[in-house]
Amino acid sequence: MLLAVLSGFFVALGLPLIIKVFKGPNTLWVSLFPLSLFIYFISKLPAIKDGETLSSSWAWVPSLGIGLDFYLDGLSLLFTLLITGIGTLVFVYTSSYLKGHIYLDRFYAYLSLFMASMLGLVLADNIITLFIFWELTSISSFFLIGFNNDNEASRKSALTALSITGLGGFFLLTGMVTLGYVAQEYQISALATLSEEIQANALYPLILVMVFVAAFTKSAQFPFHFWLPGAMKAPTPVSTYLHSATMVKAGIYLLARFTPILGNHEWWNGPLIIVGSITMVYAAIHAIFRLDLKAILAYSTISALGILVFLIGLGTDEALLAAGVFILVHALYKATLFLVTGIIDHETGTRDVSKLSGLNKVMLPVGIAAILAAISNAGIPASFGFIGKDLIYEATLHLGNMGYVLTGLAVITNVCLLFAGFLAGIKPFIGPLPPAFSKLHLPPATMWVPPLILASLGMVFGLFPMVVDTALIKPIVSSMTLGTPTFELKIWHGFNIVLLLSLLTIGSGIALYFILKPSEVLFAKATRFEKLSPESAVNQFAKGFVSFSSKWTNFFQNGYLRYYLITILSFLSLLLGYRLFYGVEIYVDTSTLSDITLYEAVIVLIMAAAIFFTVFSKSRLTAVASMGVVGYCFCLIFLFYSAPDLAMTQFSIDTLTVILFVLVLYNLPKYLTLSDTRDRIRDGLLSLIFGALISILTLEVMNETVTKDITSYYAENAYILGKGKNVVNVILVDFRGFDTMVEITVLAIAALGVFSLLKLRLKSIEKE
């Protein structure tokens, strides 16, 4: 199983190379890869049917408990079959659809990458591994949606899709880490037994929110649904594969997978029912006003996903059964309709449903596939869709009073969906053929066979439900309920209210089809309220966020060095002040202080005056000279207080600096006071505050008594061990000789820098 998942990644890497080597117009052979995976997974069917589960694992990051652990049960089997089965058909279809496209090799590579990620996602038995594959599906879909990369709309919708699903991804990450932290267990199959503990934990609501947002973004639930219609910019095989059959169902998979762990709690059921029902009704109503075939399908897909979320939210055995069946039903008919749309688009050059009709006359097999899919979608008796719809109504009806409302919503949704299905599957094929299309002919078999297979399966499963009943559906349900399901899929349930509802749905749907004709006018009316839609809200928010970002950034990074310094210094002063006045008892211990002698006082006074002149002098020369005086006074202080070496160094360095200053900066522009009085007062205040803080801090530190064992060590050993009488020198060249070496290096580097600053003039050709 490990190989089955990973093979996709290797294929993705190798494919562009291989395709280059076997350069030929026909790339049909690439489909052998998904086909072999499909065969592999279908061979596991008997084992799963007998209630077994298969697993494999490979430790990857054992210290985190993360491994490539895979686990195959009914639920994952359903998804693997969808992924590889529809994958095979999409690969076949692509070989004609994108025939001769220069980036066909990349396309297949992305598609394989996606398929592998998706398989990893549904097979993962470790919550972190699940997240890893989840992110990979988002990324590969980013590349697939943006496949037509020279088209700006395409790039934009790829970005939107990635933003929304990526956002969800981070929520999932948090949710999973939290879950792992709470349960101290990363293995999904083991988590179910810890369900009670998890739900009792205070972090349970947090996990729920995270998982919900992740699922809702991925599976395009209201209010995150809008990326999906946008993602229709992708080539049709992508829309078919990712945006109807597999990736968008990842959110559904997540919810289904976590039902036994997080479910059966009112905080789980409530939100899912609410969001699911809003989504299904909202999107279904949207679907019926669209003109673009792909948009119709996109909204009806969102609506179908809403139904699934809703069913999982109901959480009863019946609802979960209905969900399991509906996943399969929907994948079959929706993929068909997408593939058909791709053919129509490819052949006629338009997807505008109001312009299409009568195509049956030129491409009958395509028409048959489409009509079969529309029938299954409509839930007309004898189709698989009929069984699916029945189960949904049964699930909602058994809920008591609340059930009637929900059933009503389900009926409205289904009526709209039926209409949308007819619009996409029947309208283009019946009626008169416009003259413009009379020269069209049937596309190659590689394009029409895949939809026909899918559509026929929808009918076969409908007529003979026992084919899938025990083999697939029961294991699915038991992986969600963890029990043994006691039901049987039947076409005929007898005359009852469910049947009545089904007939009502079909009747009103067909009636609607005859009343409501798609047109620009209707479309315009329906989109009048776009301003209030979540999409424009998000766009507004994004715009606001960007403008906040530039305000914030330009406020701080405004280009003025002094404001940067003011920010830094105010921050420092604030913190220093806070910690000083709220943590330190401020007092001055006068007993330890030495007396002030007159000449010292005079020197300090001179220094203060020199500082004053340095700061306020109007002449550069005076300022520099006063600065020099400050330095010389330093020398004297050093001299008085037992630091002759320091005095000497300070003297020479100070002299050098002043000379350098004068020599170098002699011919600079006029020395002006550039800032206005207000600025100067502000800066002066800040400086005084900072200076005062440092002074107070110094005073307090001086109160502390310190035992200086290192100093005493030097005092004792400088001569004995260091062979020097001047302890400072011994420290510099011996005890802390490394510092001195580095200090000399600093000078050397500075010299190099000065040299290059003075001498290096880049010629214009060398600038960059």
């Binding site: 990324i139 929520f171 060095l561 940067y564 440092i694 580095v742 190099l752 290059s756 290096l760 600038k767």
Partner: protein, 504 residues
Amino acid sequence: MSSPFVVLPIIFQLFLAVLLMFCWTQKNLQKLISVVGSLVAVIISVVLFAAVWKEGIYTTQAGNWVAPFGITFVADTFSTLMVLLTTLAGLAVSVFSVGSVRNARIKFGYFPIYHFLLMGLNGAFLAGDIFNLYVWFEIIIISSFVLITIGGEKAQLEGAVKYVTMNLLASVVFLTAIAILYGLTGSLNMADLSLKVAEIENRGLVNVTAILFLVGFGIKSAVFPLYFWLPASYHTPPPAISAIFGGLLTKVGVYALIRVFTLIFIPDEFMINLISGMAAITILSGGIGALIQNNLRKIFSYLIICHIGFMIAGLGIYTETALIGSVFYLTHDIIVKTTLFMVAGLIFKIKGTYSLRLLGGFYKEYPKLSLLMSISLFSLVGIPPLSGFWAKLFLIEGGLSVGNYWLVGFILLGSFLTLFIIAKVWAGVFWKDSIHIPVKMQVKYFHELKPLKRQAMVGSIIFLSVLSLSIGFGAEYVIQVASKVAESLMNPQDYIHAVLGQTN
């Protein structure tokens, strides 16, 4: 264990720099020495890392003066890891420089100063003495000053003035902090300080001193609200220089913060909150700053800030798990940010601009380069299982375990912004059709370069991309290293024992 081997990474870079100065005019010889020397430096640091990994902390007492009386160099797992990463990034940038740095700059000592910078970095990582750390910081500062101004163009100088001023201010703050710390303890040895600071009764003063260290190192590591020098300057020097800056300079600050706040100043609640808050706003500021930029290198500059926030967040959460996250992120970020700035440089060499508005068409024209560049771009985002992903697991779990939910929220926000920005860069530079960009006379375009130079530039990017891929896929090994680092950071007794001996 005591061994003079510890200072070898420092001495060797000094040796290289001096050797290079003797070849002042021979630019080809300089290139050769730099590349071969950097390779040897990598070997040295690998050996040192392996030795420390196997046998525990190595120390060197310079001049054989017993700690705390002399200057101590300490090679524990954290510092040797940092040295290893420095030499790896250093090797890549050295090779990249061979391809991208113009001869005029080489003639004015580019390579010697570059190796002085590496020496300073290694010194800072290995220093076990706080004043010695200051001295190494000065080496780093002065060499980076010279590197950022070498060539002396207008933009460079404008950036440099801000860079120099704020870094000198940081030095002053750092020096002030050392003065006060010495006044409180009479010691400079970091292990000794760890013991002595713990004994000080006047905790208030210790806390004030900690603030000075926080701000001093905070400026260097570019956290909010101290980061302004970075976006003002990182996009101005030649690509190779901004690569090493982007990869390593801020990380020394982060290293110092983590070291000082785990060894000497154990943060109290106020400090924890302060660091967390700074981390959160750093993430936000960096992320939204990058969001609105159009210059590729500016985008990456702001992303540095954003991700510094992640590392500081680990310190703000202050659990072993979170520190594993910080150290892992540090490892990943050094490699990936260096690569990204080299990638930006390569894009510039090819197209002659950094502007997102003008760039385009890479995907069509350079499919293989695009694939290569996508590795570092998406590693940065942390698309699992690439290298940026793993650290976040630890940070999130750490944040949850102490109930710091809002910081976790900011980490997610930062990740999301990074994702969005990189996707935007991808769409703009790689997907969008190429726009006609006026040819600049002063740029020597990629296709005009000699093949060897082109290979040097691409080769160094490949080298680091492979490294970042192995960090991602071999996460287990990095996690083991990071766990060991985090464990010893939270329990500094081993460090102290190794330096001061068992008697203390």
